[in-house]
Amino acid sequence: MIIKLIIVVALFAITLGIAAYLTLMERKVAAWMQDRIGPDRAGPFGLLQPLADGGKMFFKEDFRPTNADKWLFIIGPGIAMFTSLITGAVIPWGPDLKIAGETIALQVADVNIGILFIMGAVSIGVYGIMIGGWASNNKFALFGAIRASSQMISYELAMGVSVITIVMMTGSLSIRDIVDQQHGFWDNGWFSWNVFKQPICFIVFLITALAECNRAPFDLAECESELIGGYHTEYGAMKLGFFLFAEYVNMFISCAIISALFFGGYNFPGMDNFSGNTLAILGTLVFFAKTFFFVFVFMWIRWTLPRFRYDQLMHIGWKKMIPIALINLLITGVVIAYTEGWFSKNKDNESASNVKMEQPLGVNTSFEKTKTGNSL
């Protein structure tokens, strides 16, 4: 119980700390790409810049428009921050750690619906933006909120379908199971990481993750040339800080999810040479390294590609991403069915497993793991 509490607090602190420093990283990467120096006044290499920014945010006047809905105006950024922070709970950050004979899982909760929990948190994340944008009582904020939410709903579908593909291959919704199945780097004559098995699925997921984070080239919600600042036009002080901060937390978490689902999480080539705590620490470091690589990719994309037009965005979402993801899902299903032997003439295996399935619910409490999970 106490250990879990420590993990929760540590995860909270680490996520917030990383999100704070991602703002600096973003500005440094942007500066590097545009051949500038970037922030370098506060501390060596500008390392104290996030603290200075945070302090500024806290001490600014907390302004609220006269006609704004008081409570909803406050709740909006709160929801945005809350939903982006809770997603970290189901991500396995590393292999089990053993301290004084006790096994400590580096994960807040290994729930058996882990990946669905994340999808749920993502789908609720829309409310923060929508409520914030509507409660501001400003047409630009409302436009931004509506753009953001319609974009997030559209891309959620493709994201969900690509997640289903991975779940079908793993046979489990728990992220730890998904990560454990990508053990090592090479397995049975092919790479064990999902990205090599499902490259199309990975690309769809990466694009939808960019869209879900409202990052460029999908940042139409805060498109400054058309909408001033989008949904947070009327916000100031730390409420604005919460919105901006939630975006960075989201980015960090989605990069962690990408590396867990597709790049083996804490698995790395040659991990079998290590064991125990060495493996746990190395695995965690590898996981963070992968995550930061994807954070860099996100920033790279932001400072390279121009923003989409709104109809292009909808076109890509509905007419490109969803069909691609669905066809990929179909092909994956057929391949799994083929490897399971559904098309072979010998039906004995299948009928045997059917008999097993017909047992009534609740009587057999120790169901075997479905066969699908172990074959691929």
Binding site: I113, L116, M119, G120, V126, Y127, S149, L361, G362, F367
Partner: protein, 170 residues
Amino acid sequence: MSLDILFYILGGLTIGTALMVVLSKHPVRSVLYLVLTFFLISANYVLMNAQFIAIVNIIVYAGAIMVLFLFVLMLLNLNKENEPKHSPLMTIGAAVAGGGLFLVVVAAMREAILAAPMIDANSEQVGLVENLGKVLFTKYVLPFEVSSILFLAAMVGAVLLAKKEKQTIE
């Protein structure tokens, strides 16, 4: 027994927020209370060890359908001022209809055993995805497939409606 207390607290909160959906004057607030109700219903599902149903309830209802509701209401920007006047006859009619439905529901519950425990402590495995999937695809495969055909029909219908409108504009 602490689970029972939790159940009563959750149940009370659920009914409270559900009432607020109806009693709240502002349409947007009504929708937000409805979202809260869905969350509390999901909490009730978790209490019954049905995590999968709980999270799907949040994703589908709170995350997708309610967002669309909110969408429409925000765009319409309904206020108290421009709310259409309705006659007292409508209020009475609504009260009678709602009361009738309530009566039917209560009458249907008449046979329920109140002494039975609120939460089955041995139901740990019931709500898991694997078990649910197996039951859906074996015992209840016909209702499951029929409902999926219904969804497909609804989807095709929605696409058709959207397309027809576009042709008339052009």
